[in-house]
């Protein structure tokens, strides 16, 4: 195999299914978050009681609602990829729009939560837990923003074409994979930040 072919960048002639090259990015990003989780949990060991006391100030209901929002948005985007492969353009547009509208709820709740914390005098400077809370959710929020942008670009592209072509299908699949990563990173962040401090 020539070195110029990225792992998994299978051509159409190959029998293996197409594997998007964005997986390289996903793997590196997940590994980075793994390091961040490790840093948070090891720093927590220095003073678990103080971390738990601060964690209990977080509103589990907001975290839960945001988890349900991201899962549902991810589900709609997964359905949109299936629609693209059926060449069902109206369903693709509808489902992408649905994913964006539901996904927007995450920003509303997260920004509300940040505003409530800051209004209560809680900032990244408050203590170690909140330093990490703002840093970890902030890095995740940047991913979320990039993901929403990707979905908007995909929707715009889907609205401009008359029929689904291979390029659009691949773009929806690759963009979808990024959006699912935003979801799965939150699935670890939510219990680690919100729930562990609440178990008794």
């Amino acid at each position: 195999m020539p070195v110029t072919e990225a792992p998994g960048e299978a051509t159409d002639e190959d029998s293996a299914p197409w594997f998007p090259s964005i997986w390289t990015f996903i793997a590196l990003d997940c590994a980075t978050f793994g390091v961040l989780f490790g840093v948070f949990m090891s720093e927590r060991l220095h003073d678990p009681a103080a971390y738990d006391a601060s964690a209990s100030l977080l509103d589990v209901r907001l975290g839960l609602a945001n988890t349900l929002i991201l899962i549902t948005s991810s589900y709609l985007v997964a359905l949109s990829a299936a629609a693209a492969r059926r060449d069902d353009l109206p369903a693709l547009r509808r489902l992408l729009l649905g994913g964006i509208v539901v996904g927007a709820g995450f920003a509303v709740l997260k920004l509300t939560e940040y505003a409530m914390k800051i209004a209560a005098g809680i900032t990244p400077q408050t203590d170690a837990f909140f330093g990490y809370y703002f840093a970890l959710t902030g890095v995740h929020f940047l991913h979320y923003g990039a993901g929403m942008l990707v979905l908007l670009v995909l929707l715009r592209r889907a609205q401009r074409v008359a029929a689904v072509d291979e390029g659009l299908t691949r773009a929806v699949m690759s963009g979808g994979i990024f959006w699912h990563m935003v979801d799965l990173l939150w699935v670890f962040l939510f219990p680690m930040l919100y729930l562990l401090g609440a178990v008794r």
Partner: protein, 130 residues
């Protein structure tokens, strides 16, 4: 393009399973008696959810073995690492409490104590906790 289409039925079922698992995870945090069991259950449920997202939404099961192995190890490492760290903090706290090293729910940390937390400039407004 050679793509095996993921059945929409699989996607519907995955979504339902993820929602139920999320509610179960939050319920566990509030209801399960033992903190270590609760924490382990929460993290295992989270790992299971991530497996479902990777497999059915992101269609990783069609990918190369190296990627599947990487993500499987990543999930296991995160679940085990976070749970183990939580368990260690529990034992450590109870050991310190039983030897009288820990007097209250929060370890004292005066100005002279070496600071292990990220903040050390002391300019924050302080917790509004009661």
């Amino acid at each position: 393009m050679n793509v095996r289409t993921a059945g929409t039925r699989t996607l519907h079922l995955t979504w339902a399973a993820l929602i139920l698992a999320t509610l179960f995870g939050v319920g566990t945090a509030q209801l399960l008696g033992h903190p270590l069991l609760a924490a382990a259950a929460i993290m295992v449920v989270a790992g299971g959810k991530i497996f479902l997202i990777l497999r059915n939404f992101m269609e990783l099961h069609q990918g190369p073995l190296a990627y599947r192995l990487f993500f499987a190890s990543w999930i296991v490492a995160c679940v085990v690492g976070i749970s183990a760290s939580f368990a260690f903090s529990l034992f450590n706290t109870s050991a310190r409490a039983s030897t009288g090293l820990l007097n209250s729910s929060s370890a004292p940390q005066g100005d002279g104590t070496p600071v292990s937390a990220p903040r050390s400039n002391g300019s924050g407004p302080g917790l509004k906790a009661d």
